[in-house]
């Protein structure tokens, strides 16, 4: 009977010996597998600078709004509009950070729920004590509400100006603009303060992959963002892909401005690609990222031998090519060329799957608290 024991011990010994040989020749020493490094890079080189940049664009918009409110004339309206459009574009680079501070206060709900609820907006103008905190009110504020207020309350410049110079209601209407911008400003400063303060350290130090850890929150947030807000929101709903084929040209982003919906979508998609690849904000420098982590994990398709990150980037590129085919006004595209919109939604679905299934599985991201024995 001792023989069994001896055999068992010997096999243990042989195995450890053979494996220690491997260890010596193997090059991977944990480089690239340290999650602190990509968390740090994301916080310092992408998230915080992106918020900083968005904040300055937002403050420009705020200043021009104040000028417009003080003096609603044609020049001030044009400036306000232009600064609104650039702030909206810049927002596309921070909307994807739907984890941590932004997720805690659900920043997105107060910034970009569309289509705007125009009846609600008019009701709120009449009654400034209406709440802006309930889910119903989300579509009455943020960039979509400003879109309506700047571009949709009249059919031309003069009509829009008249809306604000109206002796009776004008001041109430500008007051609502101020109310919306003040609210956005307050929430944004909370998020930025959090990222510049304690949260950054929390983010970097929660290096696990269990639920509640930074990587898990970040990846789940990012995947959801791509699926729900980039794909479904910008393309799936307007094109009817996710809504039983019912076309909804009025449900595109920036519906009233009309000609920026494509560039908003492109900006959000590019920001997403850059985030995945760890491209520093405002430069071409790449750092530790989901891409480098997946590469370090050696996540690849064993048939083609290609890295998973390469395959994801290839699919990103296909989506970008489909996006390029669109005209600037996505609402028109839904009406005239909806198949192009559907193409984008279809190719985006392939990205969703790679991120949600292949990437999350390769990274071993947990989605529930309950016990699991891996089957």
């Amino acid at each position: 009977m001792n023989k069994i024991w001896i055999a068992f011990l010997t096999s243990f010994g042989l195995l450890s010996a053979s494996c220690s040989e491997k260890t010596n020749t193997k090059k991977d020493d944990g480089n690239g597998l340290d999650r602190t490094s990509f968390l740090t890079f994301y916080a310092d080189s992408i998230i915080r600078p992106s918020y900083q940049n968005f904040n300055s664009d937002f403050q420009l918009m705020r200043q021009s709004a104040e000028l417009f409110i003080a003096n609603p004339n044609e020049t001030n309206l044009t400036n306000f509009r232009n600064n609104w459009a650039s702030a909206y574009l810049s927002w596309q680079s921070v909307e994807l950070f739907d984890f941590g501070p932004a997720e805690k206060i659900t920043l997105r709900n107060f910034y970009n729920i569309y289509p705007a609820d125009t009846n609600g907006i008019h009701a709120n103008i009449l009654n400034p004590s209406n709440t802006l905190e309930t889910p119903v009110s989300y579509a009455q504020q943020g960039f979509p509400a400003l879109d309506y207020l700047l571009n949709g309350v009249g059919s031309n410049q003069t009509e829009i100006l008249n809306f604000y110079t109206n002796a009776d209601q004008g001041s109430k209407r500008t007051a609502y603009i101020k109310r919306l911008i003040d609210k956005m400003d307050l929430l944004l400063s909370e998020v930025i303060t959090d990222w510049n303060g304690n949260y950054k350290n929390t983010f970097i130090s929660q290096t696990g992959l269990d639920i509640g850890s930074s990587t898990s929150l970040m990846v789940n947030g990012l995947v959801l963002h791509y699926e729900r807000f980039i794909r479904t929101g910008k393309f799936g709903i307007p094109s009817g892909v996710v809504s039983n084929g019912i076309l909804a040209p009025n449900k595109v982003e920036a519906f009233y401005k009309k000609d920026i919906s494509k560039s908003l979508a492109q900006a959000s998609h590019l920001a997403y690609i850059n985030y995945f690849n760890g491209k520093s904000f405002g430069s071409n420098q790449e750092g530790s990222s989901l891409k480098t982590y997946l590469d370090a994990l050696n996540a690849k398709d064993n048939v083609s031998g290609k890295n998973l990150s390469t395959l994801i980037n290839e699919q990103f590129a296909i989506v970008e090519a489909k996006l390029n085919l669109l005209n600037p006004n996505l609402s028109e595209e839904v009406t005239n060329n909806n198949s192009k919109m559907i193409d984008v939604a279809t190719e985006m679905q392939a990205v969703v799957r790679m991120l949600k299934v292949d990437m999350s599985s390769a990274m071993s991201i947990t989605i529930t608290y309950t016990d699991n024995d891996g089957d």
């Binding site: 809504s243 398709d301 299934v357 599985s361 071993s364 989605i367 699991n372």
Partner: protein, 448 residues
């Protein structure tokens, strides 16, 4: 035949079975309390609007708020089993209530819950209350110091089957040749204090895979053998402590560490009992040394049948074509533990004959756990498709069809379409037959 008869006539001390009863009852009690405290009764059995029944057990459903009562009954039964109080009723009620809980929703299936159900079943028929129990003290005529050897051996055999079959299941190319899924899971733990960095090496995944397989295949024999037992038990502790640290597998490691004590000698267990006796000031009544607890005559054939089923059931996948890890036909109830990293995403399109259609995101109907489990398991996909069919019929859809658009990754392979998108799942029926609407697995995994 005489050898077999001699074996069945052998007797042994009742102490090991008494210790097993006490430990098992207490661990069950603790498991239920933990489950309750974590809020899982609510999140798993009350909050969801749909539950995945087992084929043939569709009548087993959560009981709304009475589900708490069910868990309470289970907890009290576990305590009574530990105390050996009203044991026949308590053990039966423990088996029934626990098994009912496990049958309520497939998405919570865990091999160790299945193991617990089976042990509860065995305990119903074992004379585990004949010694060191409240029953034995209350009714001295039921008290005895000896039990048939096969009573305690049946528990050992159950454990041996669990380990050995878990080992057999690891004899496949993914596990042994590619160290999958450990190669995926271990780096996720590389931030653990002290041992974390070793998980950055692929060689660690290989080492753990091979040792794990070797451990599972050999541990029953090493525990059974007196000489190797202390060493074997030490590896039980190390192995399960490590799995407890690395993976979210709940009570399982602790239950196995305690249950493996059953392999130790009667002397060892007598010492445990005298320790407990002093600690809780419980004095068992004196019992005649040669008093023997008798099992009713039907128990022996019942157990033989039970173990034949146990030995065969894990091989039922051989009756199905295709890769087991992909189709999962015959995957459950077979001790396939921690074998695959599988994830999927699925959407359904519900259509009717009038041209109405709707794309359904399962998230709107299921909990995250249910959605995750359903996305990779064809029988659950079919159940959910039928659920949608019935829902939309209520909404006025005429002749509802349900199609699945699915994508599944298995052990790091790039995701592939899982379900034939042209199959109308509303028309497919659940059965034990092969589901030919599962798309074939495009790779090969060699082995058992």
């Amino acid at each position: 035949m005489t050898a077999i008869n001699t074996y069945f006539n052998k007797t042994t001390s009742a102490a090991p079975l008494a210790v097993f009863r006490i430990c098992f009852g207490l661990m069950m009690l603790f498991s239920i309390i933990r489950f309750w405290a974590n809020g899982w009764i609510k999140s798993l059995y009350i909050d969801p609007s749909y539950f995945f029944s087992y084929y043939g057990f569709e009548f087993v459903k959560p009981l709304g708020n009475y589900t708490y009562l069910l868990f309470a009954i289970c907890a009290v039964s576990a305590l009574f089993v530990a105390l050996g109080f009203l044991y026949r009723y308590a053990s039966l009620s423990l088996f029934v209530s626990f098994t009912y809980i496990e049958l309520m929703d497939k998405s919570t299936y865990l091999n160790h819950y299945y193991f617990i159900s089976l042990v509860c079943f065995l305990l119903v028929f074992l004379p585990a209350n004949c010694y060191f129990s409240l029953d034995a003290n209350r009714k001295p005529k039921y008290a005895s110091k000896l039990i048939p050897q096969w009573s305690i051996d049946s528990l050992k055999l159950m454990m041996a089957i669990l380990y050995f079959y878990a080992g057999l299941a690891k004899l496949n190319s993914d596990w042994l040749m590619h160290a999958l899924p450990l190669k995926i899971w271990l780096p996720a733990r590389n931030d653990m204090p002290i041992i974390g960095p070793i998980f950055n090496y692929n060689s660690t995944a290989y080492l753990f895979s091979w040792l794990g397989c070797l451990y599972d295949l050999s541990i029953p024999f090493l525990l059974w053998n007196k000489t190797t037992r202390p060493f074997a038990y030490a590896t039980v502790i190390i192995f399960h402590a490590l799995t407890a640290l690395l993976f979210p597998i709940g009570m399982f490691p602790h239950i196995m560490m305690v249950a493996a004590l059953v392999f130790f000698s009667p002397n060892f267990h007598s010492r445990i009992l005298s320790f407990i006796s002093k600690w809780v000031r419980f004095e068992p009544n004196a019992v005649a040394e040669n008093s023997l607890a008798k099992n009713p005559s039907f128990v022996k054939p019942l157990f033989i049948l039970f173990f034949i089923v146990q030995l065969l059931l894990p091989f039922r996948h051989l009756a199905y074509p295709g890769e087991l890890f992909w189709t999962e036909e015959g995957y459950r109830f077979s001790w396939r533990v921690m074998l695959i990293e599988k994830a999927g995403s699925i959407q359904f399109t519900v259509k009717d004959s009038n041209g109405n259609f709707e794309v359904v995101n399962p998230k709107d109907y299921l909990s995250p756990l249910q959605e995750k489990m359903m996305a990779t398991q064809p029988d659950m996909i079919l159940q959910f498709a039928h659920h949608l069919r019935n829902k939309y019929k209520e909404l006025g859809y005429a002749q509802t069809s349900v199609y699945a658009d699915s994508y599944v990754t298995l052990n790091g392979r790039l995701g592939k379409q899982f379900i034939n998108p042209n199959t109308d799942l509303a028309k497919e029926e659940e059965s034990f037959a092969h589901k030919d609407w599962i798309k074939p697995f495009t790779d090969e995994i060699a082995g058992l």
